[in-house]
Structure formats: C-alpha cells, structure tokens
Amino acid sequence: MPDIATNFINLDAITILYLFGVGFVGGLVSGFIGSGGAFVLTPGMMSLGVPGLVAVASNMCHKFPKALVGSMKRFKYGQVDVKLGIVLGISAEAGVLYGATIQERIKATFGDAGSNLYVSVAFVVILATVGGFVLYDAWKTYKSGNSQDEEKAGKLAKWVQSINIPGTMVYFKALDAKVSVLFTIPLGFATGMMAATIAVGGFVGVPAMIYVLGAPSLMASATELVIAFVMGLGGSFKYALSGMVDIRLAMIILAGSLFGIQLGAIGTTYVKPFMIKVVMGVIMVIVLFSRGLMVPVYLAQLELIDTLGEGTVSLLKTASFAIMIFALLLGAFIVLRAMWKGRQAERLQLAAGVVEHGKI
C-alpha cells in the first residue's frame, strides 16, 4: 500500500491525450497485423515516469480487452481460427511465465543494464531474421505480380502438415489440415517468450503461423489476436496479484486503441493479403534499428566497451525512441493508405456495376 503513490503517476490532460493517441495508432496496427504498439507504449509510459513493471503490467491490461474486441470483429469476417488461437495461446502463456523468469534471473545477475542488453539483442536478432524474411517474402510476392492470388503454404509448412504423429494430430480451420500439437506447442511457447521479452509476441507468432504452419496471412494476423487475449489475460492477472496494474493508464490507452483496432480490422477486408506482411516486415526492420542504437549504451553500462558521454547516451536514447514512433506511424500510414485505396477501388467497381446495370 505505501508505494502506491510512487507507482502511479499524476495524470494531466496532455498525458491523457498522448496515451490516447499512441493507443489509437497502436490499436490500428494491431487490428491489422495482430500485434504491435506495445513496443512504443511501454517505453512511452516509462518516459512519463511510470516504473517499468507498472508500464508492462498496464500495457498488458489494455492489450487483452483490445485483442478481445479485435478478434471478435475479425471473427465476423471469417478470419479467426479460435481453436488454433487457444491452443497457441495456452502454450504462449507458459512461454510468458518462463520468459519472465529468465528476465528476472538476468536482472538479478547482471542488473538493469544486463537485462536491457538481453532484450535489445533479442529484439535485434529476431527482428533481423524474421522481419527481414517477412519483408523479403512480401517483396517477392509484389514483384511476382501474384499479389491477388490465394496464398499457398510454403515448403516448410507443407512438410509440417505432412508429419503424422498419432495421438497428437489436431485439425485447424486456418490450415485446412491436421497438424501435430508437438509443432504448435513450441511455436506458442516461443511467441510467449517473445511477448515477455520484447513485448510483441506477434512478431514471432504471426510469421510462425504463416511460414511454419501454413496459415494465410489474414488468418494468422487475426488468430494472433486470440493468442494476445489469452496471454494478456493471464499476464494481467499475474501482475494485478501484486498490485502492479495502473488501471487508469490501461483504460485510457484502451480508449484510443479500441477506435484504432476496429479501423485496422475493417482495413483487412480491403487489402491484398501480402499487405499484412508488408506492414509487419516494415515495422520489424525499422524497430530493429531503434533497438540496435541502444546496444552500445547498455554495453557501456556493463563496462564491456568504453564509457559513452552523457550527450551521446541521451542522443542515442532520443533517436531510438523517435525511430520506434516513426515505425508505428509508418505502419499506421501504410494501413490507412491501403485501406483508402481498397475502398476507392470498391467504390469505382460498384459505380461501374450500377452504370452497366442501368444500361441493361
């Protein structure tokens, strides 16, 4: 009880508007690619003076209701595989708990700088490999001129779907195939671990569903919202048990993000599926640079390299945060632009249909 005052900041109008705005943009991107926003929200709250743990907890407590609303909306569009979401979500929950334990252990052994370095390196490695691949794949689809075509499962996914391990096979609608849960469990676990480490499990979960299991992009990004709901609900409760959730922060962010997630979900019905990969890949690769900039700061704090001047540290921190915000805004811009173009095209088609009909 006595540390409640130190845990929870005072809210003024500017802070409320800032949280609402970031919530909206984060929600817009999440509604479209299934995740995102958290990587800006958590450091964003910390920059307002919110302690790290309260920022993580409050972010999680806005995430699960947001994911619930988003997944229900996308369910209406036939994009959600609830079974796959729950199966992956439960193993992701285990991954979150394990990831949090690793984080605590690293923090206890190497301190804050060690923990931050671990997070940044995980960010850089995951984003460079997975993000680079997603973007490359989207580029390939765009160049091939087949962006309108139905997405087909890749070689890896076909192999995974061909493995029959009796007693473990489950049919998933998104894949239109049976897959062994021995494949889905580690994927969910890795998604959860990433959520606990870099706050955005979807950067692993969505590509895993697409490339390893063979789900179409739209289904994968929509199903990720179910995973985020399951993970976020469990995580929020865990943090709430120790009184770490600042419900005001969570609900204000939710206020903006529910506007955004509805719009992002609507957007998915207008775009070509490969746009999901474009938005996700672009954000991942830009965020990679943002986190990469922070690596020297943590290395210096751990005395693994020469100490950096205060000016340099402050410059790197500001640049890193600015790049993250840019990543989110660019993602939101691509979503809105693609949606706008899709709507225009549909309107033109409709108008053409009306004219043709009128002639007959």
Binding site: V69, A240, G243, F259, I266, T269
Partner: protein
C-alpha cells in the same frame, strides 16, 4: 448516388454506448485515488482491474464499432471470407 447507405445506421446504439462509455471514464478519472488505492492492493483485488477491463471493452468496444459504422466506414462487401 444513394447506393450503399441504404442500411439503417446504428446512431441510437452509438449514442447510448457512448454515454455509458463517457460515464465509465468520468468515474475512473474522478475517483482515481480511491480506485487506484483499492485495485492496487493485490491478492483477491486482482479481479477488479480484470473485470473493469472487460466492462470497458464491452461498452467502449460497442461504441467505437458503431462510431465507424455511422461514419460509413465498414468492411468490404466483397471479401467476407478468407481463402
């Protein structure tokens, strides 16, 4: 040009949900000291933020959904199903 807006727009539902949503947020901010003091006690009190999140998501979620519909921003009529 009266093509797609022939369906009735959920204006009344949007207003009702919007008013409830505003009332919820007003309560949250006006009573923030009491709410934070109670919710942050941990233990069984952990259910309070979770329940709050569900309640807000229901009312505010319905409001935001209707908000975009009333503005005429709705899902594409062509592609309802993936695949």
């Amino acid at each position: 040009m009266a093509q797609s807006s022939s369906r009735k727009k959920p204006v009344a539902a949007m207003i009702v949900m919007g008013v409830i949503s505003i009332a919820l947020y007003a309560t949250l901010l006006l009573k923030q000291d009491f709410i934070n003091g109670t919710f942050a006690q941990g233990g069984w009190y952990a259910f309070l933020p979770i329940i709050t999140a569900f309640v807000f998501s229901y009312f505010h979620g319905s409001f935001t959904g209707n908000f975009w519909t009333v503005l005429g921003i709705e899902a594409s009529k062509k592609k309802k199903e993936v695949k």
